[in-house]
């Protein structure tokens, strides 16, 4: 491996370090390391049918794919003799690539990373392999049951059949500066002005008051009350979350007419636009990295994002070569974790592992994703500092190794678990992307200064057109099923 760059060697050394550690922790958890474990079963079977072969898996490009490239792929090959080829695809193109390959029918992909909201479309098209038979053959139902209920019950099945294994506990949580919120002078002034204690906001009204107050007090020191990623694809998730927390419904359940342009939607849109005034200038252009940089450099007191922000802010293994691009955290040990205002965070995006229906080695591909997703191996993968994979099994939230990764890790995991218990699913219908695209365009118009009501009227009209094209009754059936799920609307 002389040709490997220094970074890769370091990652391998990290893998070699963490593997025995994990093995010890796995032994400490009853049952996990038994001969019947999903990981062990998959390895034994793969040795027989996959040794010498290559499994091709589609993975999100960038940090995510360092998992199969540097960690799980080499580990699987060592245990089974089965090679892993990773096809890196940017998130925005994953659906397209998967569909194109399916239509061409070449069998170029064996296993897939799939955003759960796409599942109805992919299943309807026939691109995903139904996994129930293989799950039963390899006795994996038990371990699937141990996936956190919100993911297990919502990200695994279409029409009550298994098409993917939930594999990434994506959820938005709020990160706030404990030290700022604990400052006596700020607490006193805030109490005097608003009549309640300065703390992580529980409602969006509180968020607006706290954010504008902190900006007013701290702007001269280079800190804003809050910053968010505001690029439309991210804001889409935030709108979906907030709209439902405020009591909004996407559709009239009887007629399937879009209702996002109701007073709740207009109010949410208006408030989102107005909040930008106490955020850093140009926040409308903030993406994942810009917002992360703002927060970890200590330039904002609150933000909402996916779980990796917590690890990056804590400086967890920040010296990893793969994390060179992440701005060094100046706020380690100063970050508090809370549910976003409203208390029902968005389970934004996420990933499930699936098998491509056109694969020529479906069983081998299945065994690989079972092994990846198993209690034993997933515990290692969600601890990797560089891959953006987040806890998604009940055992991950109480993993004794994880709890000690940094001083506040226990609070972090507690927040993630709480978020998973009350999280809201992304809207998932037939041709979801068309609804999302209309809303993304609406959000970009919002940042351009257009009137919230007229934007949402336009978006609602486009949604109605998509629904009519799909078929009102057909879409209604899908929506009704989605809305009835535990994460459809706040219960």
């Amino acid at each position: 491996m002389d040709q490997l760059p220094a970074g890769a060697c370091r990652l391998r050394r990290f893998a070699a370090w963490i593997a025995p550690l994990a093995a010890v922790s796995a032994l400490a958890l009853p049952g996990i390391a038994s001969a019947q474990s999903g990981a062990k079963t998959a390895v034994e079977a793969a040795k027989k049918i996959c040794a010498g072969k290559t499994i091709t898996i589609v993975w999100e490009a960038g940090l995510q794919s360092l998992d199969p490239l540097n960690f799980s792929g080499p580990m699987w090959e060592k245990e089974t003799g089965c090679k892993i080829k990773v096809v890196e695809v940017p998130t925005a193109e994953m659906f397209t690539k998967i569909m194109q390959e399916y239509r061409s029918g070449t069998g170029a992909y064996d296993a897939l990373n799939v955003i759960p909201a796409w599942m109805p479309d992919l299943v309807q098209a026939g691109a995903l392999e139904q996994l129930d038979t293989l799950v039963d053959k390899y006795g994996y139902r038990g371990e699937l049951q141990k996936i956190a209920p919100i993911f297990r019950d919502n990200w695994m099945k279409v029409n009550n059949k298994i098409y993917g294994f939930p594999d990434d506990g994506d959820v938005f949580i709020m990160y706030y500066r404990k030290d700022v919120f604990a400052r006596a002078d700020l607490k006193k002034d805030f109490q005097a002005k608003y009549g309640y204690e300065l703390a992580a906001p529980k409602t969006w009204k509180q968020f607006e008051e706290i954010g504008s107050f902190l900006t007013e007090k701290l702007k001269r020191d280079g800190m804003y009350g809050a910053s968010f990623f505001r690029e439309p694809p991210y804001t889409l998730f935030m709108f979906e979350e907030r709209f439902r927390n405020e009591g909004g419904r996407f559709f009239d359940a009887a007629t399937m007419k879009a209702t996002i342009n109701n007073p709740t939607g207009v109010r949410v849109f208006t408030e989102m636009r107005d909040e930008n005034k106490f955020m850093p200038p140009g926040v409308e252009k903030f993406g994942f990295v810009e917002n992360l940089a703002t927060f970890v450099k200590g330039e904002s007191a609150m933000t909402i994002s996916w779980p990796p922000y917590g690890r990056f802010a804590a400086g967890y293994l920040a010296n990893e070569k793969a994390l060179d691009w992440v701005p060094k955290s100046t706020i380690a040990d100063k970050v508090g974790y809370a549910l976003p205002p409203g208390g029902h965070p968005e389970l934004a995006a996420g990933f499930s592992l699936s098998v491509a229906s056109t694969s020529k080695q479906k069983e081998a591909a299945y065994l690989f994703i079972q092994w990846l997703n198993s209690e034993e191996i997933s515990a290692l993968r969600v601890r990797l500092p560089y891959t953006l994979r987040d806890p998604f099994r009940d055992s991950h939230y109480t993993d004794p190794v994880y709890l000690k990764l940094w001083p506040d890790a226990k609070d972090y995991l507690a927040a993630l678990k709480a978020a998973s218990l009350s999280g809201l699913l992304d809207l998932s219908l037939i041709q979801t992307d068309k609804y999302e695209e209309a809303m993304r365009q609406g959000i970009s118009r919002l940042w351009a200064g257009e009137d919230p009501k007229s934007i949402l009227d336009d978006v609602a009209k486009q949604w109605d057109e998509v629904t009519a094209k799909v078929g009102v009754e057909k879409q209604k059936a899908v929506y009704t099923e989605w809305a009835a799920k535990s994460g459809g609307y706040p219960k």
Binding site: T96, M99, S444, R445, E450
Partner: protein, 297 residues
């Protein structure tokens, strides 16, 4: 009187030349025409990549196309970009060519440097300009801030008043050198004796340019305008990198619209209809332009 009987040439001999070029023409027709025919067929079907149906649906896609306001807006945006960028690129390119026509120290180096933007891939150019216009790190906002005397946050790729200027600046920066190069070559071939004669006759600069230079470079200039006009009609990369067609669909060009419909929304047959519409429109415009400048004869 005997006559020599001249043997009648066989079919193969009489049409030998056609037989020679026939396979090549057939191949070219297959390559050139087949995709168009296939596109036409697909445009009458109901193919979407998320559905398994490929039934023929008559002219539904064309009916939808004429009722699709977003499509016509995209065509309008494309026309606006073309109408503004093309004359500016031509004028600037011509001015630069006239400037660099005379020998001067370091001319070759300057010309090479001026041509660099053309070498850059359009998507890279778009990404570069995205950084240039960045509200925090971009030099443009900084310079405007210095001139203004206070820090400014101009959101070039979000504000409705700034997106068009931003895209057009990037487009002109990249493609003016192309005009410059062609026009410089054309100007270099203008008959010197005519210019000298005009000078001796006391013709002024404008008269000389209008009567001698312009007619001499017109064929090359026409080709340059046609090439750039067609390029601008296909404008994609720079807009995609800067705004992705936003805010909303405010800067969506016909190429971006087609891409979104075809590769993000998987409306395969509808996209085929759009593509055919664009082909027909472009062909008509091209024929008109060629006829007008008498190049088609």
């Amino acid at each position: 009187m005997s006559t020599l009987a001249i043997p009648r040439a066989g079919f193969a001999q009489r049409h030998f030349n056609y037989l020679l070029v026939g396979p090549a023409i057939l191949l070219l027709l297959l390559i050139g025409i087949f995709p168009l025919v296939y596109l036409l067929i697909v445009s009458f079907q109901g193919i979407t990549m998320t559905d398994n149906s490929s039934d023929f649906i008559g002219a539904d896609n064309y009916r939808a196309l004429f009722a699709d306001a977003r499509l016509w807006q995209a065509l309008l945006h494309t026309a606006i970009f073309t109408a503004i960028s093309l004359p500016i690129e031509l004028a600037l390119g011509l001015a630069m060519a006239l400037l660099f026509l005379d020998r001067m120290p370091g001319r070759a180096i300057f010309v090479a440097l001026l041509l660099l933007p053309v070498v850059v891939s359009p998507i890279v150019s778009g990404a570069t300009w995205s950084l240039m216009f960045d509200h925090r790190f971009g030099p443009i906002n900084q310079i405007i801030g210095w001139l203004h005397g206070a820090e400014l946050t101009l959101l070039w790729t979000i504000s409705p008043h700034l997106v068009y200027p931003a895209i057009i600046v990037a487009e002109i920066w990249q493609w003016t050198p192309f005009m410059f190069l062609l026009l410089l070559a054309a100007l270099g071939n203008v008959d010197r004796s005519q210019l000298e004669a005009a000078q001796i006759d006391g013709a002024g600069w404008w008269r000389t340019f209008h009567r001698i230079v312009l007619p001499a470079i017109r064929p090359v200039m026409t080709i340059a305008i046609l090439i750039r006009g067609l390029d601008l009609f296909r404008l994609f990369d720079i807009v995609w990198a800067l705004t992705k067609g936003g805010p909303g669909t405010m800067t969506e060009t016909i190429s971006i619209f087609t891409y979104v419909k075809g590769f993000q929304q998987f409306e395969t047959s509808y996209t085929a209809a759009v593509a055919l519409l664009v082909i027909v429109l472009l062909s008509a415009l091209l024929m008109l332009a060629l006829r007008r400048v008498e190049l088609a004869r």
